[in-house]
Structures are given as structure tokens and as C-alpha cells.
Symmetry: C2
Subunit: 221 residues, 2 copies
DNA sequence: TCAATAGTGTCTCTTAGACAATATTGA
DNA sequence: TCAATATTGTCTAAGAGACACTATTGA
């Protein structure tokens, strides 16, 4: 009987950048199956309450997190009889971006079962097919950013151009020329110069910017 | 009770190019709900037999079509309580490409309930949220082609460069310079020159090409 | 003044687009 | 030869990357 209805779930790859590294949020599973292994936050679809699978995804994040993520995007659907021992399952994968300054609020020092893992070196045991999910979500995020979709959702509301470039380089994995990068930013007009300044350890302080209010994290062409 | 389990289905936007127009395959519904309206081919997930939702999608095409489509790709998931009056539904949308020379085999003159509709002018009544699905699948296809993913699956196995350019222009909706286009084709090496020739109504005959055997319809960067 | 980082200017090389010139066929 | 389309070549302009130069701060 259970075979007639698939399990439907939403899983979320929540990314942030810490220490110049692209990281994804993992939770250690308490229960079987795969107790002890690390998994993406996820939740089963509740038809009575969820207006869509995006709602399910947000609910999954809210359950383990206190943070509101601004950006949530579909990546792909994974399906099949062998993904989950509990039965035929359909898993809809999303990805979301979290500014670095909010990352500590998610994985506080207290929690042993929450981790921001470097996507390039996933050393923990990963549950189900979540390793593949992380790889695909990472690729998708990279593609978007390479096509010059500004990953502003990974930055705090106010940021310097150097910080923006650093996030860019971390996500894409490639260095960028400062001059060209700033030329591009000037031409597209997604940024607004603010009139306060920042830091300056022992050097020239940097201008702060914010995104224009209508900014959207979208493809270009 | 039915509320606890969502309906899970795969729908396919099958594209081809006829008369310099990008077209999508529509079927007229026999049964309620929405009898008489036109819908994308689709099928319910059968957990007992479908190894994945891509299988479900292929099965949906096979049911109304005799054609094997080479290329099938996920677009997005649509979900919610209001999409289908039969209950909460989760619909996974795919798109597929069919060479123009195989299009007649699908919608033969006999069938009144099969149509290749111009995606730019959908005049028939469209069932459910399939109009939105068609729009999204079209956008996705366009994006891929704009990024110079050669839409070779829309062409017969052998084709001329002029035919390829024409398909390109039809899908993207924009004219292309012949010289630049051929330069790009030469640089990427996805085509093989054949040594037979074609037509020539009253003019110079065109060289035929085919895709290299390892060709894949993928993003560039 | 020095170290360190922010910000700007200039040069070159690649590439896309415009457009012209040549080639080849049947009628 | 002519009409029609295929194929190739050349010029130009915009953009990306390399790299150097100037600016501003605290120590």
C-alpha cells in the first residue's frame, strides 16, 4: 500500500561564505535511517498546510534555524525507489544563500549537530544521495555567479567592493581582475554608494555599497 | 485521506520547429477535469514501474507518440493544492526536443486531438497551469540556446549550416550574422563535415554536417 | 615616511558584428 | 548570362584582462 504513494520532500542546500570558503549547512541525523550521518535540512510535504514545495523548504529551514533566507531557488528533483529505505521518494532540492554575518546564528557553539561544511572537502559521512545534491546545487550556484548574477545574498546589507569581489572569487573559484570587475559593476547599475565608510586597519578606508532595492538574483540574458 | 498524499506527475513540453516557428506538442483532453482543453502530455508517477520521474516523462511521451526523444531535461516543479481539482498535486516539468522531420509522425493528419502549437501564439484553451509551464520551458530552452548550446536535437541527423542558423534564429527570436555564426561553429568543434551534398533548387548546393558523436546539449561555462 | 589596501587609468588583444566579395549551381 | 544561395574575407568597434599608477589611512 505504501508503495502506491511516494514520499515527497523538500531539501535545502543553504550556502554561506566563511573564511574564504563556500560552505553548506549540514545537520547530523538523530533517527534512523542513517542515524549519525549528515544531511541537508529537509521536510516532508504537508499538503494540509504547505501552499507549495517552496513553503515546505522554508519550513525545513525554520525548524533548525532562526534565520529568514531571502533567496530560495529550485535546483532539481531526485526520485526513485532506492533513495530512501522507507519507500519510493521524490525529493525536491532547493538552494538558499545566507549572509556570512548571520551564519553564526544558525550553527551556534552549543550545537554539536550543526555544521557549516566546506563544499570542496566534505569529510563527514553524508546521508542518502545528499552528496550528489550538494554537488549539483554548488554547480548551479556557480553557474549563476559566473554569468554575473551578483551573489549579494551572501553579503551583509552593506559591503565594500573588495568584499564583493572576494565572495565572487570564492564562489567561482577563480581570481578576478579588480579593474574589470569594478568596470562591470559600474555598467550594470545594481549598486548604490553609501556615504559612510568602513574599517581601515592601517590603510585607506573602503567605500560601502548596498544593492539597489529592486535587485534580483537572476540570469542576465 | 486523499489529502495526505499528493498526486505526483511528470509533464513534458515537447518542442520542434515547423515553418520557422517554435512549436510545442499539445493534446486535447478527453476526460474531466478540463475535458476539451489542451494540455501537455503527462503521466502519473507509478512507483512500481518507474525508476525515476524521467522514466515517467518518457512513458508519457510514448503513450501518445511513437517517437524516441533523444533529449529530456528537467525544468521545474509546480506544486500546490489548487493546481488540479483532484487534490494536492506535484507536477515535474520536463522539456524535450524533436527534429522537424519526425514531427509529422507524432501529429498525423488523422489525429484531431494532437497539435503542434506556436508557442508565441497559443490560441487554444490551455488546461491547468500548463500555459505557465510552456512559458517557463520556452524560456529555459531559449536560455540554453542563447548560451550557444547547439539545438542539434531539433534538426535531422544531417543538416546544412544555413538550416542550423535558421533553427537558432527561430528559437532565440533574433537574427544572427552568418559570418560570426560560422566562426563560432568552427571554433567549437561540435560538427563534422560530411562528403555528400544537398539540394540547390537553382543555386549553389550546401555542405552537409552532422554532430560529433560525443555531442551533448549542455551549458558552456 | 612606510606599509597596506582602495580606487583609477591605460594599453593590448580578443571577439562579435557589419558588410563586402567570391563561388557554385540550375535554368 | 542570371538569379539565388553558399562560403569566405576584411574592417571596425566594444569589451576583457593585464598591469601600472595614484590616493588615503594609521602607525
Amino acid at each position: 500500500m505504501k508503495e502506491l504513494f511516494p514520499i515527497v520532500a523538500a531539501d535545502v542546500a543553504l550556502f554561506t561564505v566563511l573564511e574564504e570558503t563556500l560552505r553548506v549547512l549540514l545537520l547530523q541525523r538523530d533517527n534512523e535511517p542513517q542515524a549519525g550521518a549528515w544531511a541537508l535540512p529537509g521536510a516532508l510535504l504537508k499538503p494540509e498546510t504547505d501552499l507549495s514545495l517552496e513553503h515546505t523548504a522554508r519550513r525545513a529551514l525554520a525548524a533548525k534555524t532562526r534565520v529568514e533566507v531571502p533567496h530560495l531557488e529550485q535546483v532539481a528533483v531526485f526520485s526513485g525507489p532506492g533513495r530512501d529505505p522507507r519507500g519510493y521518494s521524490v525529493g525536491v532540492l532547493f538552494y538558499a544563500l545566507l549572509p556570512a554575518d548571520q551564519a553564526p546564528a544558525v550553527a551556534g557553539a552549543k550545537a554539536m549537530d550543526v555544521a557549516w561544511s566546506d563544499v570542496a572537502h566534505l569529510k563527514r559521512p553524508i546521508a542518502f544521495d545528499h552528496r550528489e545534491m550538494i554537488a549539483l546545487a554548488t554547480t548551479r550556484l556557480r553557474q549563476k555567479v559566473v554569468q554575473l548574477a551578483l551573489p549579494l545574498h551572501l553579503l551583509p546589507a552593506k559591503f565594500t567592493l573588495t568584499q564583493l569581489q572576494s565572495v565572487f572569487e570564492t564562489v567561482t573559484g577563480k581570481p578576478l581582475d579588480k579593474s574589470s570587475f569594478r568596470r562591470r559593476l559600474r555598467d550594470e547599475k545594481n549598486l548604490v554608494k553609501l556615504h559612510g565608510e568602513l574599517e581601515g586597519g592601517a590603510n585607506r578606508p573602503a567605500q560601502l555599497y548596498r544593492a539597489i532595492s529592486s535587485f534580483r538574483f537572476e540570469m542576465k540574458s
